[in-house]
């Protein structure tokens, strides 16, 4: 299994060249690094000093590739991979939180007046978005990817455009439609 930063750079280049197995090798590397960073992030519960999710991905990228100056093309691809992984990390985290809730530990936090505490209601929201997004992905994989990057990886519209190689206008339009559809599904259910 590839471990070094050189491997990550090489794998990214291979991925770019169209080698499918490069992605399979890249995923666990990035995943481990992201999960480590994410765990640290979750523990850093200090108001005002919160790491931005994008910073997290950037940090993972720099760490894994040892590049001081980001190679923009590789970086965009890395973002694409990272979005997928961040989603997995977040969904796992949310499942754990809600499982803890079901087992009683967090009942009061999840269900009582404190329900609106941001860090408690978020897991439920994350799970709901994840499941609904799976349906959107079946209809439109590209749009699904876009939501993944915007929502799960926290990329801006510009960064998403860059990572997906799409015009900014398209990203904005697709995002608006996806957001309206997801909200409608989550609020009103399937028609």
């Amino acid at each position: 299994m590839a471990e070094s930063s050189g491997d990550v750079t090489k794998l990214l280049a291979q991925m770019q060249a169209g080698r499918k197995d490069a992605l399979a090798q890249l995923l666990p590397l990035v995943y481990n690094e992201l999960r480590r960073l994410a765990a640290r992030y979750m523990q850093q519960e200090r108001g005002g000093h919160t790491l931005q999710p994008t910073a997290l991905v950037h940090e993972a990228y720099l760490k894994l590739t040892h590049q001081d100056r980001a190679n923009w093309h590789n970086r965009a691809q890395f973002m694409g991979v990272a979005g997928q992984l961040m989603r997995r990390i977040l969904v796992d985290h949310a499942r754990k939180r809600c499982a803890a809730k079901r087992s009683g530990e967090l009942v009061t936090l999840c269900e009582s007046a404190a329900r609106q505490l941001a860090d408690v209601s978020r897991p439920e929201e994350i799970l709901a978005v994840h499941l609904t997004l799976e349906r959107l992905e079946r209809l439109d994989p590209q749009q699904g990817k876009l939501v993944e990057l915007r929502y799960f990886a926290g990329l801006s519209a510009e960064e998403t455009a860059e990572a997906m190689g799409l015009p900014l206008r398209t990203v904005e339009r697709e995002w608006a439609a996806a957001k309206a559809w997801l909200r409608a599904q989550l609020a009103e259910g399937e028609s």
């Binding site: 992030y41 519960e45 108001g47 978020r122 929201e125 439109d140 939501v147 909200r183 028609s191």
Partner: protein, 676 residues
């Protein structure tokens, strides 16, 4: 849904979003005529296309922070806004919806929630005007509910330079007084610094007993040093347990910074023109590196500061007389070294008589010549500074109960200033009229009848000394009367015109007991507020409403303000007014407190003299609720939900946290405990 159909939905959605609202309908009808399912889907999306909400924040946001949005409910508290965040958590401004009171909620970050009870216990042991009060603890969710303090932190104030020396001494004495009270309870603050001190209209307030700890308890596990390094004493920095003398050291640093606007360093030399010579000596005695050579008790520091203050500012001496009185007593309790210092600067002026009460609560006076030094790392504050003035604050939430529901109508409850007794009007079914009664609040004694019960005696009001009850007699010889609370025949203070049916009978005593305020009909037709001299019978007009009614007068606890309801067209459409009074009770200026034009049925001051509780309904005949409004600083009225929608005639005790009112259902008297 198929991918093809979804593409179509997206395209129609995109165009519909760009349509003007009035043409959208037509566009949708045209473009989806063949496929109602597509139309339905697009319409659903359009309903969710605008506004904010789900998916606006990336999934990561808020996972690590404990952020509360405005409007969030935490039990009875509703978050209004975020005030700031610190090392241990964030502080929010919130409303206690039960009492309509503005509070501060400190949400502790998860790793600090174990401190919750510690901090809670520390503050709850302190009931002091210069300590931020704790009202409640949210155990499970990890928050503290505290007094909302309007003001500026000393740290922020110091960015604009040093304070005038008068303010340094005055606030210094207040801070020392607060810490001395803490030390008496065996609590050391351990993190005193300008950021933990608020400067308010009512003086300094010490916050954040967050790292405070009961002095005789074990240090935190792992020997971790808690506090802010810049304000730690040398011995604290070396990892020795903090004791009361660490706070004395920190106070010295704070005083230095207040006076100079600069951080103290060991190279610092204190010189400031205008500061009394004793101040430099005082700083020196706070800042000795060796704890043994410092002041040995915070009472000693406070005493010295108060004396310097009295010495340096003749103008404000009067205000400080009482405080200096307390300080003088502390001289005896202070360490000998302090006593020597004090003997040079204690003013010769004798304090007023109020010392007697303090003496009672102070244990037998210790030897004035105690050995100068305490052992250098005593875990407890010096024994002489620990009198037993323990008055723990209850965490119990406010609770309402029916206090009196005897047959017949009860009205106009009035809590004695100490909250021990209640006076009220009751038309006992056997009597045919309303008499004034008095009854202990807590004991189950029967109400004692003070007047005959054939007239209509309404509007009972306690004198500030708790000895007399004034009231309005509205039949027969109409007028203002008072009766001794222990019984006896009523005395007529002054006759008044027969009041209009809707004019409230509310009367109020001035703080010195010399005047009674009540509405009376003026020569021009309207009803105004008048003052009647209790002994002289002298009548003075205070307000000037010529066509409507001014009623429900209420003197503030310090007698400097008088609140009343100013109504147009009889008693409809009223607003709260507050008139500032000169020392001789002539009106100075007036301020409108509300802009509601409502039907007001009673006004009472909060014990701190900075806000009012009043009963108001939208119109005459509509339900009346209790509201609370801040006068200083001005604020918006907040409904006291707890009291329901049929509440009138509020009265608040000066101590003891009681609110009573009349509930219109059955005209019962209701009592709210833990009202703060």
């Amino acid at each position: 849904m198929t991918p093809e159909r979804w593409r179509r939905v997206k395209e129609i959605f995109r165009q519909a979003v760009e349509c003007r609202a009035d043409t959208r309908e037509v566009f949708l009808a045209d473009s989806t005529a063949d496929d109602p399912e597509v139309r339905c889907e697009v319409e659903k999306m359009l309903r969710h296309a605008d506004g904010t909400g789900l998916l606006d924040r990336p999934a990561w946001e808020g996972l690590a922070e404990r952020e509360l949005e405005p409007g969030t409910r935490l039990g009875p508290y509703e978050i209004a806004s975020k005030l700031g965040s610190g090392g241990m958590g964030s502080v929010y401004k919130a409303i206690d919806t039960r009492l309509g009171r503005t509070v501060a909620i400190k949400m502790l970050n998860r790793e600090f929630t174990h401190r919750l009870r510690l901090e809670g216990r520390a503050i709850s042991a302190l009931n002091h005007p210069h300590v931020c009060a704790l009202y409640d603890i949210g155990d499970r969710e990890g928050y503290l509910v505290m007094e909302y303090i309007e003001g500026e932190s000393l740290a922020s104030r110091l960015t604009r330079g040093p304070l005038p020396i008068e303010a340094v001494l005055r606030h210094g004495a207040e801070i020392a007084d607060a810490l001395a009270a803490a030390h008496r309870q065996g609590i050391v603050h351990r993190d005193l610094k300008p950021a933990n001190i608020m400067i308010t209209g009512a003086g300094a307030k010490v916050l954040d007993f967050g790292v405070a700890q009961i002095a005789h308890e074990a240090e935190p596990a792992g020997g971790e040093v808690v506090g802010t390094a810049a304000y730690m004493s040398p011995s604290q920095l070396n990892g020795n347990p903090a004791d009361s003398r660490s706070d004395i050291f920190a106070l010295g640093l704070v005083l230095y910074e207040m006076a100079t606007g600069r951080r103290h360093s060991w190279e610092s030399h204190y010189e400031r023109a205008g500061a009394p010579a004793g101040f430099a000596r005082l700083l020196d005695r706070c800042l000795r590196p060796d704890a043994v050579q410092r002041f040995q008790s915070m009472d000693g520091v406070r005493c010295a500061l108060e004396a310097l203050h009295a010495e340096s500012s003749g103008a404000s001496r009067r205000r400080w007389r009482a405080a200096v009185g307390v300080g003088l007593l502390a001289v005896a309790a202070a360490a000998a070294g302090t006593a020597v210092l004090m003997s040079n600067i204690v003013p010769s002026k004798r304090p007023r008589a109020q010392t007697a009460a303090i003496v009672e609560s102070t244990p037998a006076s210790p030897e004035p010549q105690r050995p100068p030094a305490e052992p250098s790392s005593s875990p407890r504050p010096p024994a002489s500074s620990r009198p037993a003035m323990v008055r723990p604050v209850s965490f119990a939430p406010p609770a309402v109960s029916t206090w009196a529901s005897y047959p017949g109508l009860k009205r106009d409850p009035s809590l004695s200033p100490d909250g021990a007794r209640m006076a009220f009007s009751w038309n006992h079914p056997g009597l045919g009229g309303y008499a004034i009664y008095v009854q202990p609040v807590n004991a189950s004694a029967a109400p004692a009848m003070l007047t005959e019960g054939r007239a209509e005696d309404w509007g009972a009001a306690w004198s500030p000394d708790g000895r007399r009850i004034a009231f309005q007699r509205r039949t027969g010889q109409t007028g203002i009367y008072y009766v001794e609370a222990s019984g006896g025949a009523p005395d007529l203070v002054a006759p008044i015109a027969r009041p209009g049916r809707e004019t409230l009978p509310q009367v109020s005593w001035s703080h010195d007991g010399k005047w009674i305020a009540t509405p009376d009909r003026g020569p021009s037709g309207g009803t105004q507020i008048y003052l009647f001299g209790v002994d002289s019978g002298e009548k003075r007009r205070l307000t000037w409403n010529t066509t409507g009614t001014d009623h429900a007068p209420a003197f503030s606890p310090d007698g400097r303000l008088l609140a009343y309801a100013d109504c147009v067209e009889g008693v409809h459409a009223c607003d709260l007014m507050v008139v500032a009074l000169e020392r001789d009770f002539t009106p100075k200026r007036e301020r409108r407190i509300t802009q509601q034009g409502v039907y007001i049925r009673g006004i009472a001051w909060l014990p701190d003299g900075r806000g009012l509780v009043y009963s108001a309904g939208r119109t005459i005949g509509a339900d009346t609720s209790l509201w609370r409004v801040s006068v200083n600083p001005p604020g918006d009225p907040q409904r006291i939900d707890l009291a329901g929608s049929r509440a009138r005639h509020p009265t608040v005790s000066q101590t003891g946290g009681l609110l009573a009112y009349t509930r219109l259902d059955g005209w019962a008297l209701m009592l709210v405990r833990n009202f703060r």
